[in-house]
């Protein structure tokens, strides 16, 4: 007990700060990744050859952009887009400097997941909506997005957990966070206790968010 008390005395604030930094990075980048990823995912579905408004050129180009975005390893992207990051948030350092590359790497990922969720919607429902005179926009909002909501929410959990992991690498640009603490204290200074504490916090947070997402998705899903 005494050990724990002195440990938290010494490292409590550090770990708390790390937790806050990690959560801010993950939550904000998930949010912005969806702001970009949902419209792109919707466009991919709507403009696909069997979509509501097939558009081969737009669909192909969007597909390329998404694939390129997904194929660049995060650690490289983080450094490679520094000029762009500076342009957007004014700095390439700290939490803001990490959020930009996190969003850039997650948005294409989100677009593909949204695309997949929407593709799972029964084509019969889309046809039924069309038969009642629904416009393309109405079908997107009232059928595609609404019917796939449980699946979309599961996607949010997956994105969140993925970005949670990626945010550990953001220590490279001095963004802090639990991953950064684990690497700096555990790997570079051989302070195994700090590393273990940081890793435990990561595990707990991931469990909490994944479970919350699963429970919510199950609760709102009215299919059997």
């Amino acid at each position: 007990m005494e050990f724990l008390a002195s440990f938290f005395d010494q490292y409590g604030m550090l770990l708390l700060d790390g937790t806050v930094d990690t959560l801010v990075m993950t939550v904000l980048s998930t949010l912005f990744a969806y702001v970009i990823g949902v419209p792109v995912g919707v466009l991919l579905v709507v403009t696909s050859p069997n979509g509501l408004r097939p558009h081969k050129a737009l669909n192909t180009v969007l597909g390329w952009i998404v694939n390129i975005g997904r194929s660049i390893p995060f650690i490289i992207l983080l450094v490679a887009i520094i000029p762009f990051t500076r342009l957007v948030v004014g700095t390439s350092l700290g939490v803001p400097g990490a959020i930009v590359p996190l969003v850039v790497t997650a948005a294409p990922f989100v677009a593909r997941m949204v695309e997949q969720s929407l593709e799972e919607v029964d084509g019969g429902l889309v046809e039924a909506a069309q038969s009642f005179g629904a416009s393309t926009w109405q079908i997107v909002s009232k059928v595609y997005l609404r019917e796939s909501l449980p699946s979309l929410i599961r996607g949010v959990s997956i994105t969140f957990v993925t970005l949670f992991g990626y945010s550990a690498m953001a220590g490279t640009v001095g963004a802090g966070g639990l991953g950064d603490i684990a690497i700096r204290y555990g790997y570079q200074r051989y302070q195994t206790d700090v590393m273990i504490a940081a890793v435990i916090l990561c595990v707990v947070l991931v469990q909490v968010f994944q479970t919350a997402g699963d429970v919510l998705a199950r609760k709102i899903d009215k299919r059997r």
Partner: protein, 257 residues
């Protein structure tokens, strides 16, 4: 009245083109329950989907109440579809919406005030025998109940025409009869013209006053139901009748076992 004139539909695919409908000419009078029968793949669904332009005809025209609708686009197209109800083999109810929300859906599209669409939906559910199920979800209902909800939804916009795509094919015999009776009642009470796709002669015999038999995209026979079945002119119709009697025999045998 629905007039289908020289209708052709060709699907262009990678493996070449498929002539789904060939020079189809049909006239469906107001108040008819018009059966379109044929084997699967004969083009029944494509033909019916041309009436509300879910499929675009390759050539020919569709005239509804004197208006040529074949080239309708934009707002006109959406309004045309809103005026034609449709029900489906697998019901196609929105799984994440309650029964009441499903029936309100077509009215929601037309931006009717909430109170009005709710009152209308409740009235329709009452009419199809589904009062009391408003807050349930489709997954909680049997097939017959789901189809009743789908019928209520199809009636929400007061359509003059209703398209029924194999509406009873996924239902057992008893439920089929109940749904057919409901469709007939709607036809008689509200004067809704019905176009009924079916591969079952029994269904056609039960509710259709006229039928057209189609095979490989062509209308091979058309006329009053009783006459077509009593005196079939084409081999396809005879085949369908034979097949239907056969399946009836098989059913009887199954029950005897």
């Amino acid at each position: 009245m629905i007039e289908i004139k020289d209708l052709n539909k060709v699907f262009e695919g990678r493996g070449g083109s498929h002539h789904a409908l060939r020079d189809v000419n049909l006239t469906i009078e107001d108040g008819d329950i018009f059966g379109i029968i044929g084997q699967s793949g004969a083009g029944k669904s494509t033909l019916v989907r041309c009436i509300n332009l879910l499929e675009r005809p390759t050539s020919g025209s569709i005239v509804i109440d004197g208006k040529d609708i074949t080239d309708y686009q934009g707002r006109d197209l959406l309004d045309l579809r809103a005026g034609i109800g449709m029900i489906f083999q697998h019901f196609s109810l929105f799984q994440q919406r309650t029964v009441l929300q499903n029936v309100m859906f077509p009215l929601e599209l037309r931006k009717e005030p909430k109170a009005k669409r709710e009152a209308r939906a409740r009235e329709l559910l009452e009419a199809v025998g589904m009062a009391g199920y408003e807050e349930r979800y489709p997954s909680e209902l049997s097939g017959g109940q789901q189809q009743r909800v789908a019928i209520a939804r199809a009636l929400a916009n007061d359509p003059k025409i209703m398209l029924c795509d194999e509406a009873t094919s996924a239902l057992d015999t008893r439920t089929t009869v109940a749904i057919l009776n409901l469709l007939k009642e709607i036809n008689e009470k509200l004067g809704v013209t019905m176009v009924v796709i079916t591969h079952s002669l029994a269904v056609a015999q039960k509710i259709c006053n006229r039928v057209a038999v189609i095979d490989y995209g062509e209308v091979v026979e058309e006329g009053r139901t009783v006459e077509v079945f009593a005196n079939p002119q084409s081999s396809v119709t005879r085949e369908l009748i034979e097949h239907d009697t056969l399946s009836a025999v098989v059913d009887v045998k199954k029950e005897a076992e």
